[in-house]
Amino acid sequence: MLESIVFYTLATLIIGFGVLVVTTRNTVHCVLFLVANFLCVAMIYVLLAAEFLAIIQILVYAGGIVVLYLFVVMLVNLQRQPATAPGRRPQARAGFALAAVMLAELSAILVFSASHPASVAAAAPPAPSGMGNTTMVGLLLYSDYLVPFEVASMLLLVAMVGAIILARKDA
């Protein structure tokens, strides 16, 4: 009972902040709503018994990436708002159409799969494995997914070097 209350509040918060991110004019407010959105998503992960992922989400996403966005928005945005093109551009209408089609398609899949229960048990509670979520993720990360882990670290290194070179003053 309590879990569904928490879920519904979080869901509405996420959707609400998502819409606000997309619609507000002032970019800094946009970034703030994005942070709030990410924090609510982190709580959703806690509901899904994925604490490690929730903490990583807060640490990396809300604590790192969005701070980066805030820095860039402040350095760049303060002079003036980008010139808003006159009238609804055709692309806006296409955007809404595409989003509507996307939503319709996803809900169709959901409705279809909800009516015929798939082979897998719908909502079997997770087997209470001995180790905590963190240890389980850690073990997986270093056993089955070692190669993607190393590749991800290489990717991050490349991204760091790229970002520094791009943003250098005399570049």
């Binding site: 350095l75 303060l78 002079q79 003053k169």
Partner: protein
């Protein structure tokens, strides 16, 4: 290719700013964090002292000289009084000259205490400020006992001193010297070997010996760059020729060396005071001087070593009126301040604060 919004930014370190030691205005042109250009605006404390003195009787001018470098009033008095005596070729009794040396050296200690306190406070070391002012209070008490004032002493007269030292005063001065000897290591303990202090001062505001002389710098700022120029040694006045003391000289000419030079001057001043107290002769404290002083027509320039540097007086007397025809002062702070735009070149914004403290200026003397 337009760079970011860090195009050249002019920043106004306004007249009322905590670390400009009075009403100095520095207009900084910054490129991001680095100082590109800096021009100093002075004159906020201009009271027209030189013009004022042309309408004052000779003895009254001593009062006005107190208010020039209000941190070292005794040195100002000494400089003026000696110039007039040189003009009148007056012979000052030995006892008066000895007491004048003691007063000047006490004043140097007090001025250096204030410099060290504010200099360290600007860079975050709050405690040194309180320690220095504790010692400065002792010096002010000594002056108060001698001449009744704590800031504008009016402690000297043309021809000697207004009053003899009160009984027991020399014992108090000796006690003060012992206290100071034990306290200066306390300042050094906090700062000299402190990594953060060294990082903030080593290599900041470097100026070579030749450039310093070319700019007319004097005092600890010049000695920090390795030039052993000290008026007390080169042209001894009052009774400095009777005492032996050495002149601390820096090597690199950066803020750290200027700091070391002034710290060493504490010890030298104490040494001088002790010798002066030991050899204090008996005798009159003022020469035979007519009630109404009328120095013969003529002009003269005489310089002394004030805590900030070479303080010179150029006085022209027309022999008839009882006021100087022309009264000109060569203040050390004014000349040392010239170096600021050169020293600040290429440093960061927070170094400007350290540099202003390092050249130790007092705006009363700069603006006159």
């Amino acid at each position: 290719m337009s760079t970011f919004d860090t195009t050249e930014l002019t920043l106004n370190m306004g007249p009322q700013h905590p670390s400009t030691h009075g009403v100095l205005r520095v207009v900084l042109r910054l490129d991001g964090e680095r100082v590109v250009g800096c021009d100093v605006v002075i004159g906020y404390l201009h009271r027209g002292i030189e013009k004022l003195c042309e309408h004052r009787d000779w003895q009254q001018i001593v009062l006005i000289t107190d208010r020039m470098d209000y941190v070292a009033a005794a040195s100002n008095n000494l400089g003026y009084v000696e110039t007039v005596e040189k003009l009148m070729s007056l012979e000052v009794p030995r006892r008066a000259r000895y007491i004048r040396v003691i007063l000047a050296e006490l004043q140097r200690i007090a001025s250096h205490c204030l410099w060290l306190g504010t200099h360290a406070m600007d860079m975050g070391a709050m405690t040194v400020f309180l320690y220095c002012f504790r010692e400065r209070e002792l010096v002010l008490d000594l002056f108060e006992e001698y001449c009744g004032a704590r800031l504008t002493y009016n402690s000297m007269r043309i021809g000697g001193l207004p009053l003899d030292i009160p009984s027991g005063w020399d014992k108090k001065v000796r006690a003060f010297c012992d206290i100071l000897e034990s306290k200066v290591p306390e300042y050094e303990e906090l700062l000299t070997h402190n990594r953060i202090w060294r990082d903030r001062t080593k290599g900041i505001g470097v100026i070579g010996g030749a450039d310093a002389v070319a700019l007319g710098l004097t005092g600890p700022v010049l000695r920090g760059s390795g030039v052993p120029r000290d008026v007390r040694k080169d042209e001894p006045y009052a009774a400095y020729s009777d005492f032996e003391f050495d002149v601390p000289v820096g090597t690199a000419g950066d803020t750290y060396d200027r700091y070391l030079v002034r710290i060493e001057e504490f010890h030298q001043s104490v040494r001088i005071i002790r010798q002066a107290l030991d050899g204090l002769p008996e005798g009159p404290i003022v020469a035979k001087v007519p009630r109404l002083i009328k120095p013969p027509a003529g002009e003269t320039y005489h310089a002394i070593e004030s805590p900030k540097g070479e303080l010179g007086y150029f006085i022209v007397s027309d022999g008839k009126s009882n006021a100087p025809y022309r009264f000109r002062v060569r203040p050390p702070s004014f000349c040392n301040l010239q170096a600021l735009p050169r020293l600040v070149q290429g440093h960061l914004m927070s170094d400007v604060v350290a540099l202003i403290g390092s050249i130790d200026i007092v705006l009363g003397e700069v603006d006159r």
